[in-house]
């Protein structure tokens, strides 16, 4: 299943609303990088409000897509990580360092604007 990527000015917005299987996660990674390339977006918000499980594989794909986007010149902020997901990730031993996060989509956009527009 393809995850829709919306363009808003020079930002890309994604809300993940499916239980991500490995294949969908990898496809999303490719789609997002292609979309950054095509649109010239400088900021990306990936909203995870509807995601109720992030296992080690999905965490790795998300962490990688942040680094890959950064290489292309786009800053990524992950938003809306649920309390249960945050607790589970840390207990599992996954520390998503170097990943920008914000409470929700609104805060994520504010964060991006501050960083990119000074």
């Amino acid at each position: 299943m393809r995850i829709p990527i919306l363009k808003l000015h020079n930002y890309l917005l994604i809300s993940i609303q499916i239980d991500l299987d490995d294949q969908s996660a990898i496809e999303f990674q490719e789609d997002l990088l292609n979309k950054i390339h095509k649109s010239g977006a400088t900021g990306v918000v990936i909203d995870l409000t509807s995601v109720d499980i992030i296992d080690s594989f999905i965490a790795k794909v998300l962490g990688d897509v942040v680094t890959m986007s950064d290489l292309m010149g786009a800053r990524v902020v992950l938003t809306g990580i649920q309390p249960a997901v945050a607790m589970t990730l840390i207990e599992l031993g996954i520390h998503m360092q170097d990943v920008q996060t914000a409470l929700d989509l609104e805060q994520g956009l504010i964060k991006l604007r501050q960083e990119l527009e000074g």
Binding site: D19, D21, D22, Q23, D52, I53, I54, D55, S56, F57, A59, K60, Q82, P83, A84, V85, M87, T88, E91, L92, G93, I94
Partner: protein, 133 residues
């Protein structure tokens, strides 16, 4: 209660099927949101291990009723290559898959009880229990 006890793991998509069924079972048993996430994540890791290392196997669920408590038992079994050195795979940070899985120590932390039996060349069985609080 209609209780489908096992999910066969043959393809990557079965990992999602296993964790979704596990979450449903956990919810039915009265686990809270955080424990549901813990159980589903643990199942996801165990199912992925089966898929990555053994190719196929199964994840089974069992309700445990004791006098003073109730729990969900997850049994992940395969007839894959087995684990040569269990103490090594139980170390944090150990991986043979290039960091794809957080590994078994993470699963152990997410659950209340964790047991592993493995025979080199014959397969692996992991039992993990979470008690309803």
């Amino acid at each position: 209660m209609d209780f489908k006890p096992c999910v066969n793991i043959n393809k990557e998509l079965d990992i999602v099927g296993a964790r979704q069924l596990g979450r449903t079972r956990a919810k039915e048993l009265g686990f809270g949101t955080v424990d549901q996430a813990r159980i589903a994540t643990a199942i996801s890791e165990l199912a992925r291990n089966i898929y990555l290392y053994a190719g196929k196997g199964k994840v089974c669920f069992e309700v445990i009723d004791q006098l003073d408590k109730q729990g969900l038992k997850v049994v992940a079994s395969d007839e894959g290559p087995g684990i040569r050195d269990i103490s090594q795979v139980m170390q944090d940070g150990y991986s043979t898959s290039g960091g794809l899985g957080a590994g078994l120590p993470g699963v152990k932390r997410l659950m209340d009880h964790f047991e592993i039996h493995s025979e080199w060349g014959k397969g692996t069985e992991i039992q993990a229990i979470k008690w309803v609080r």
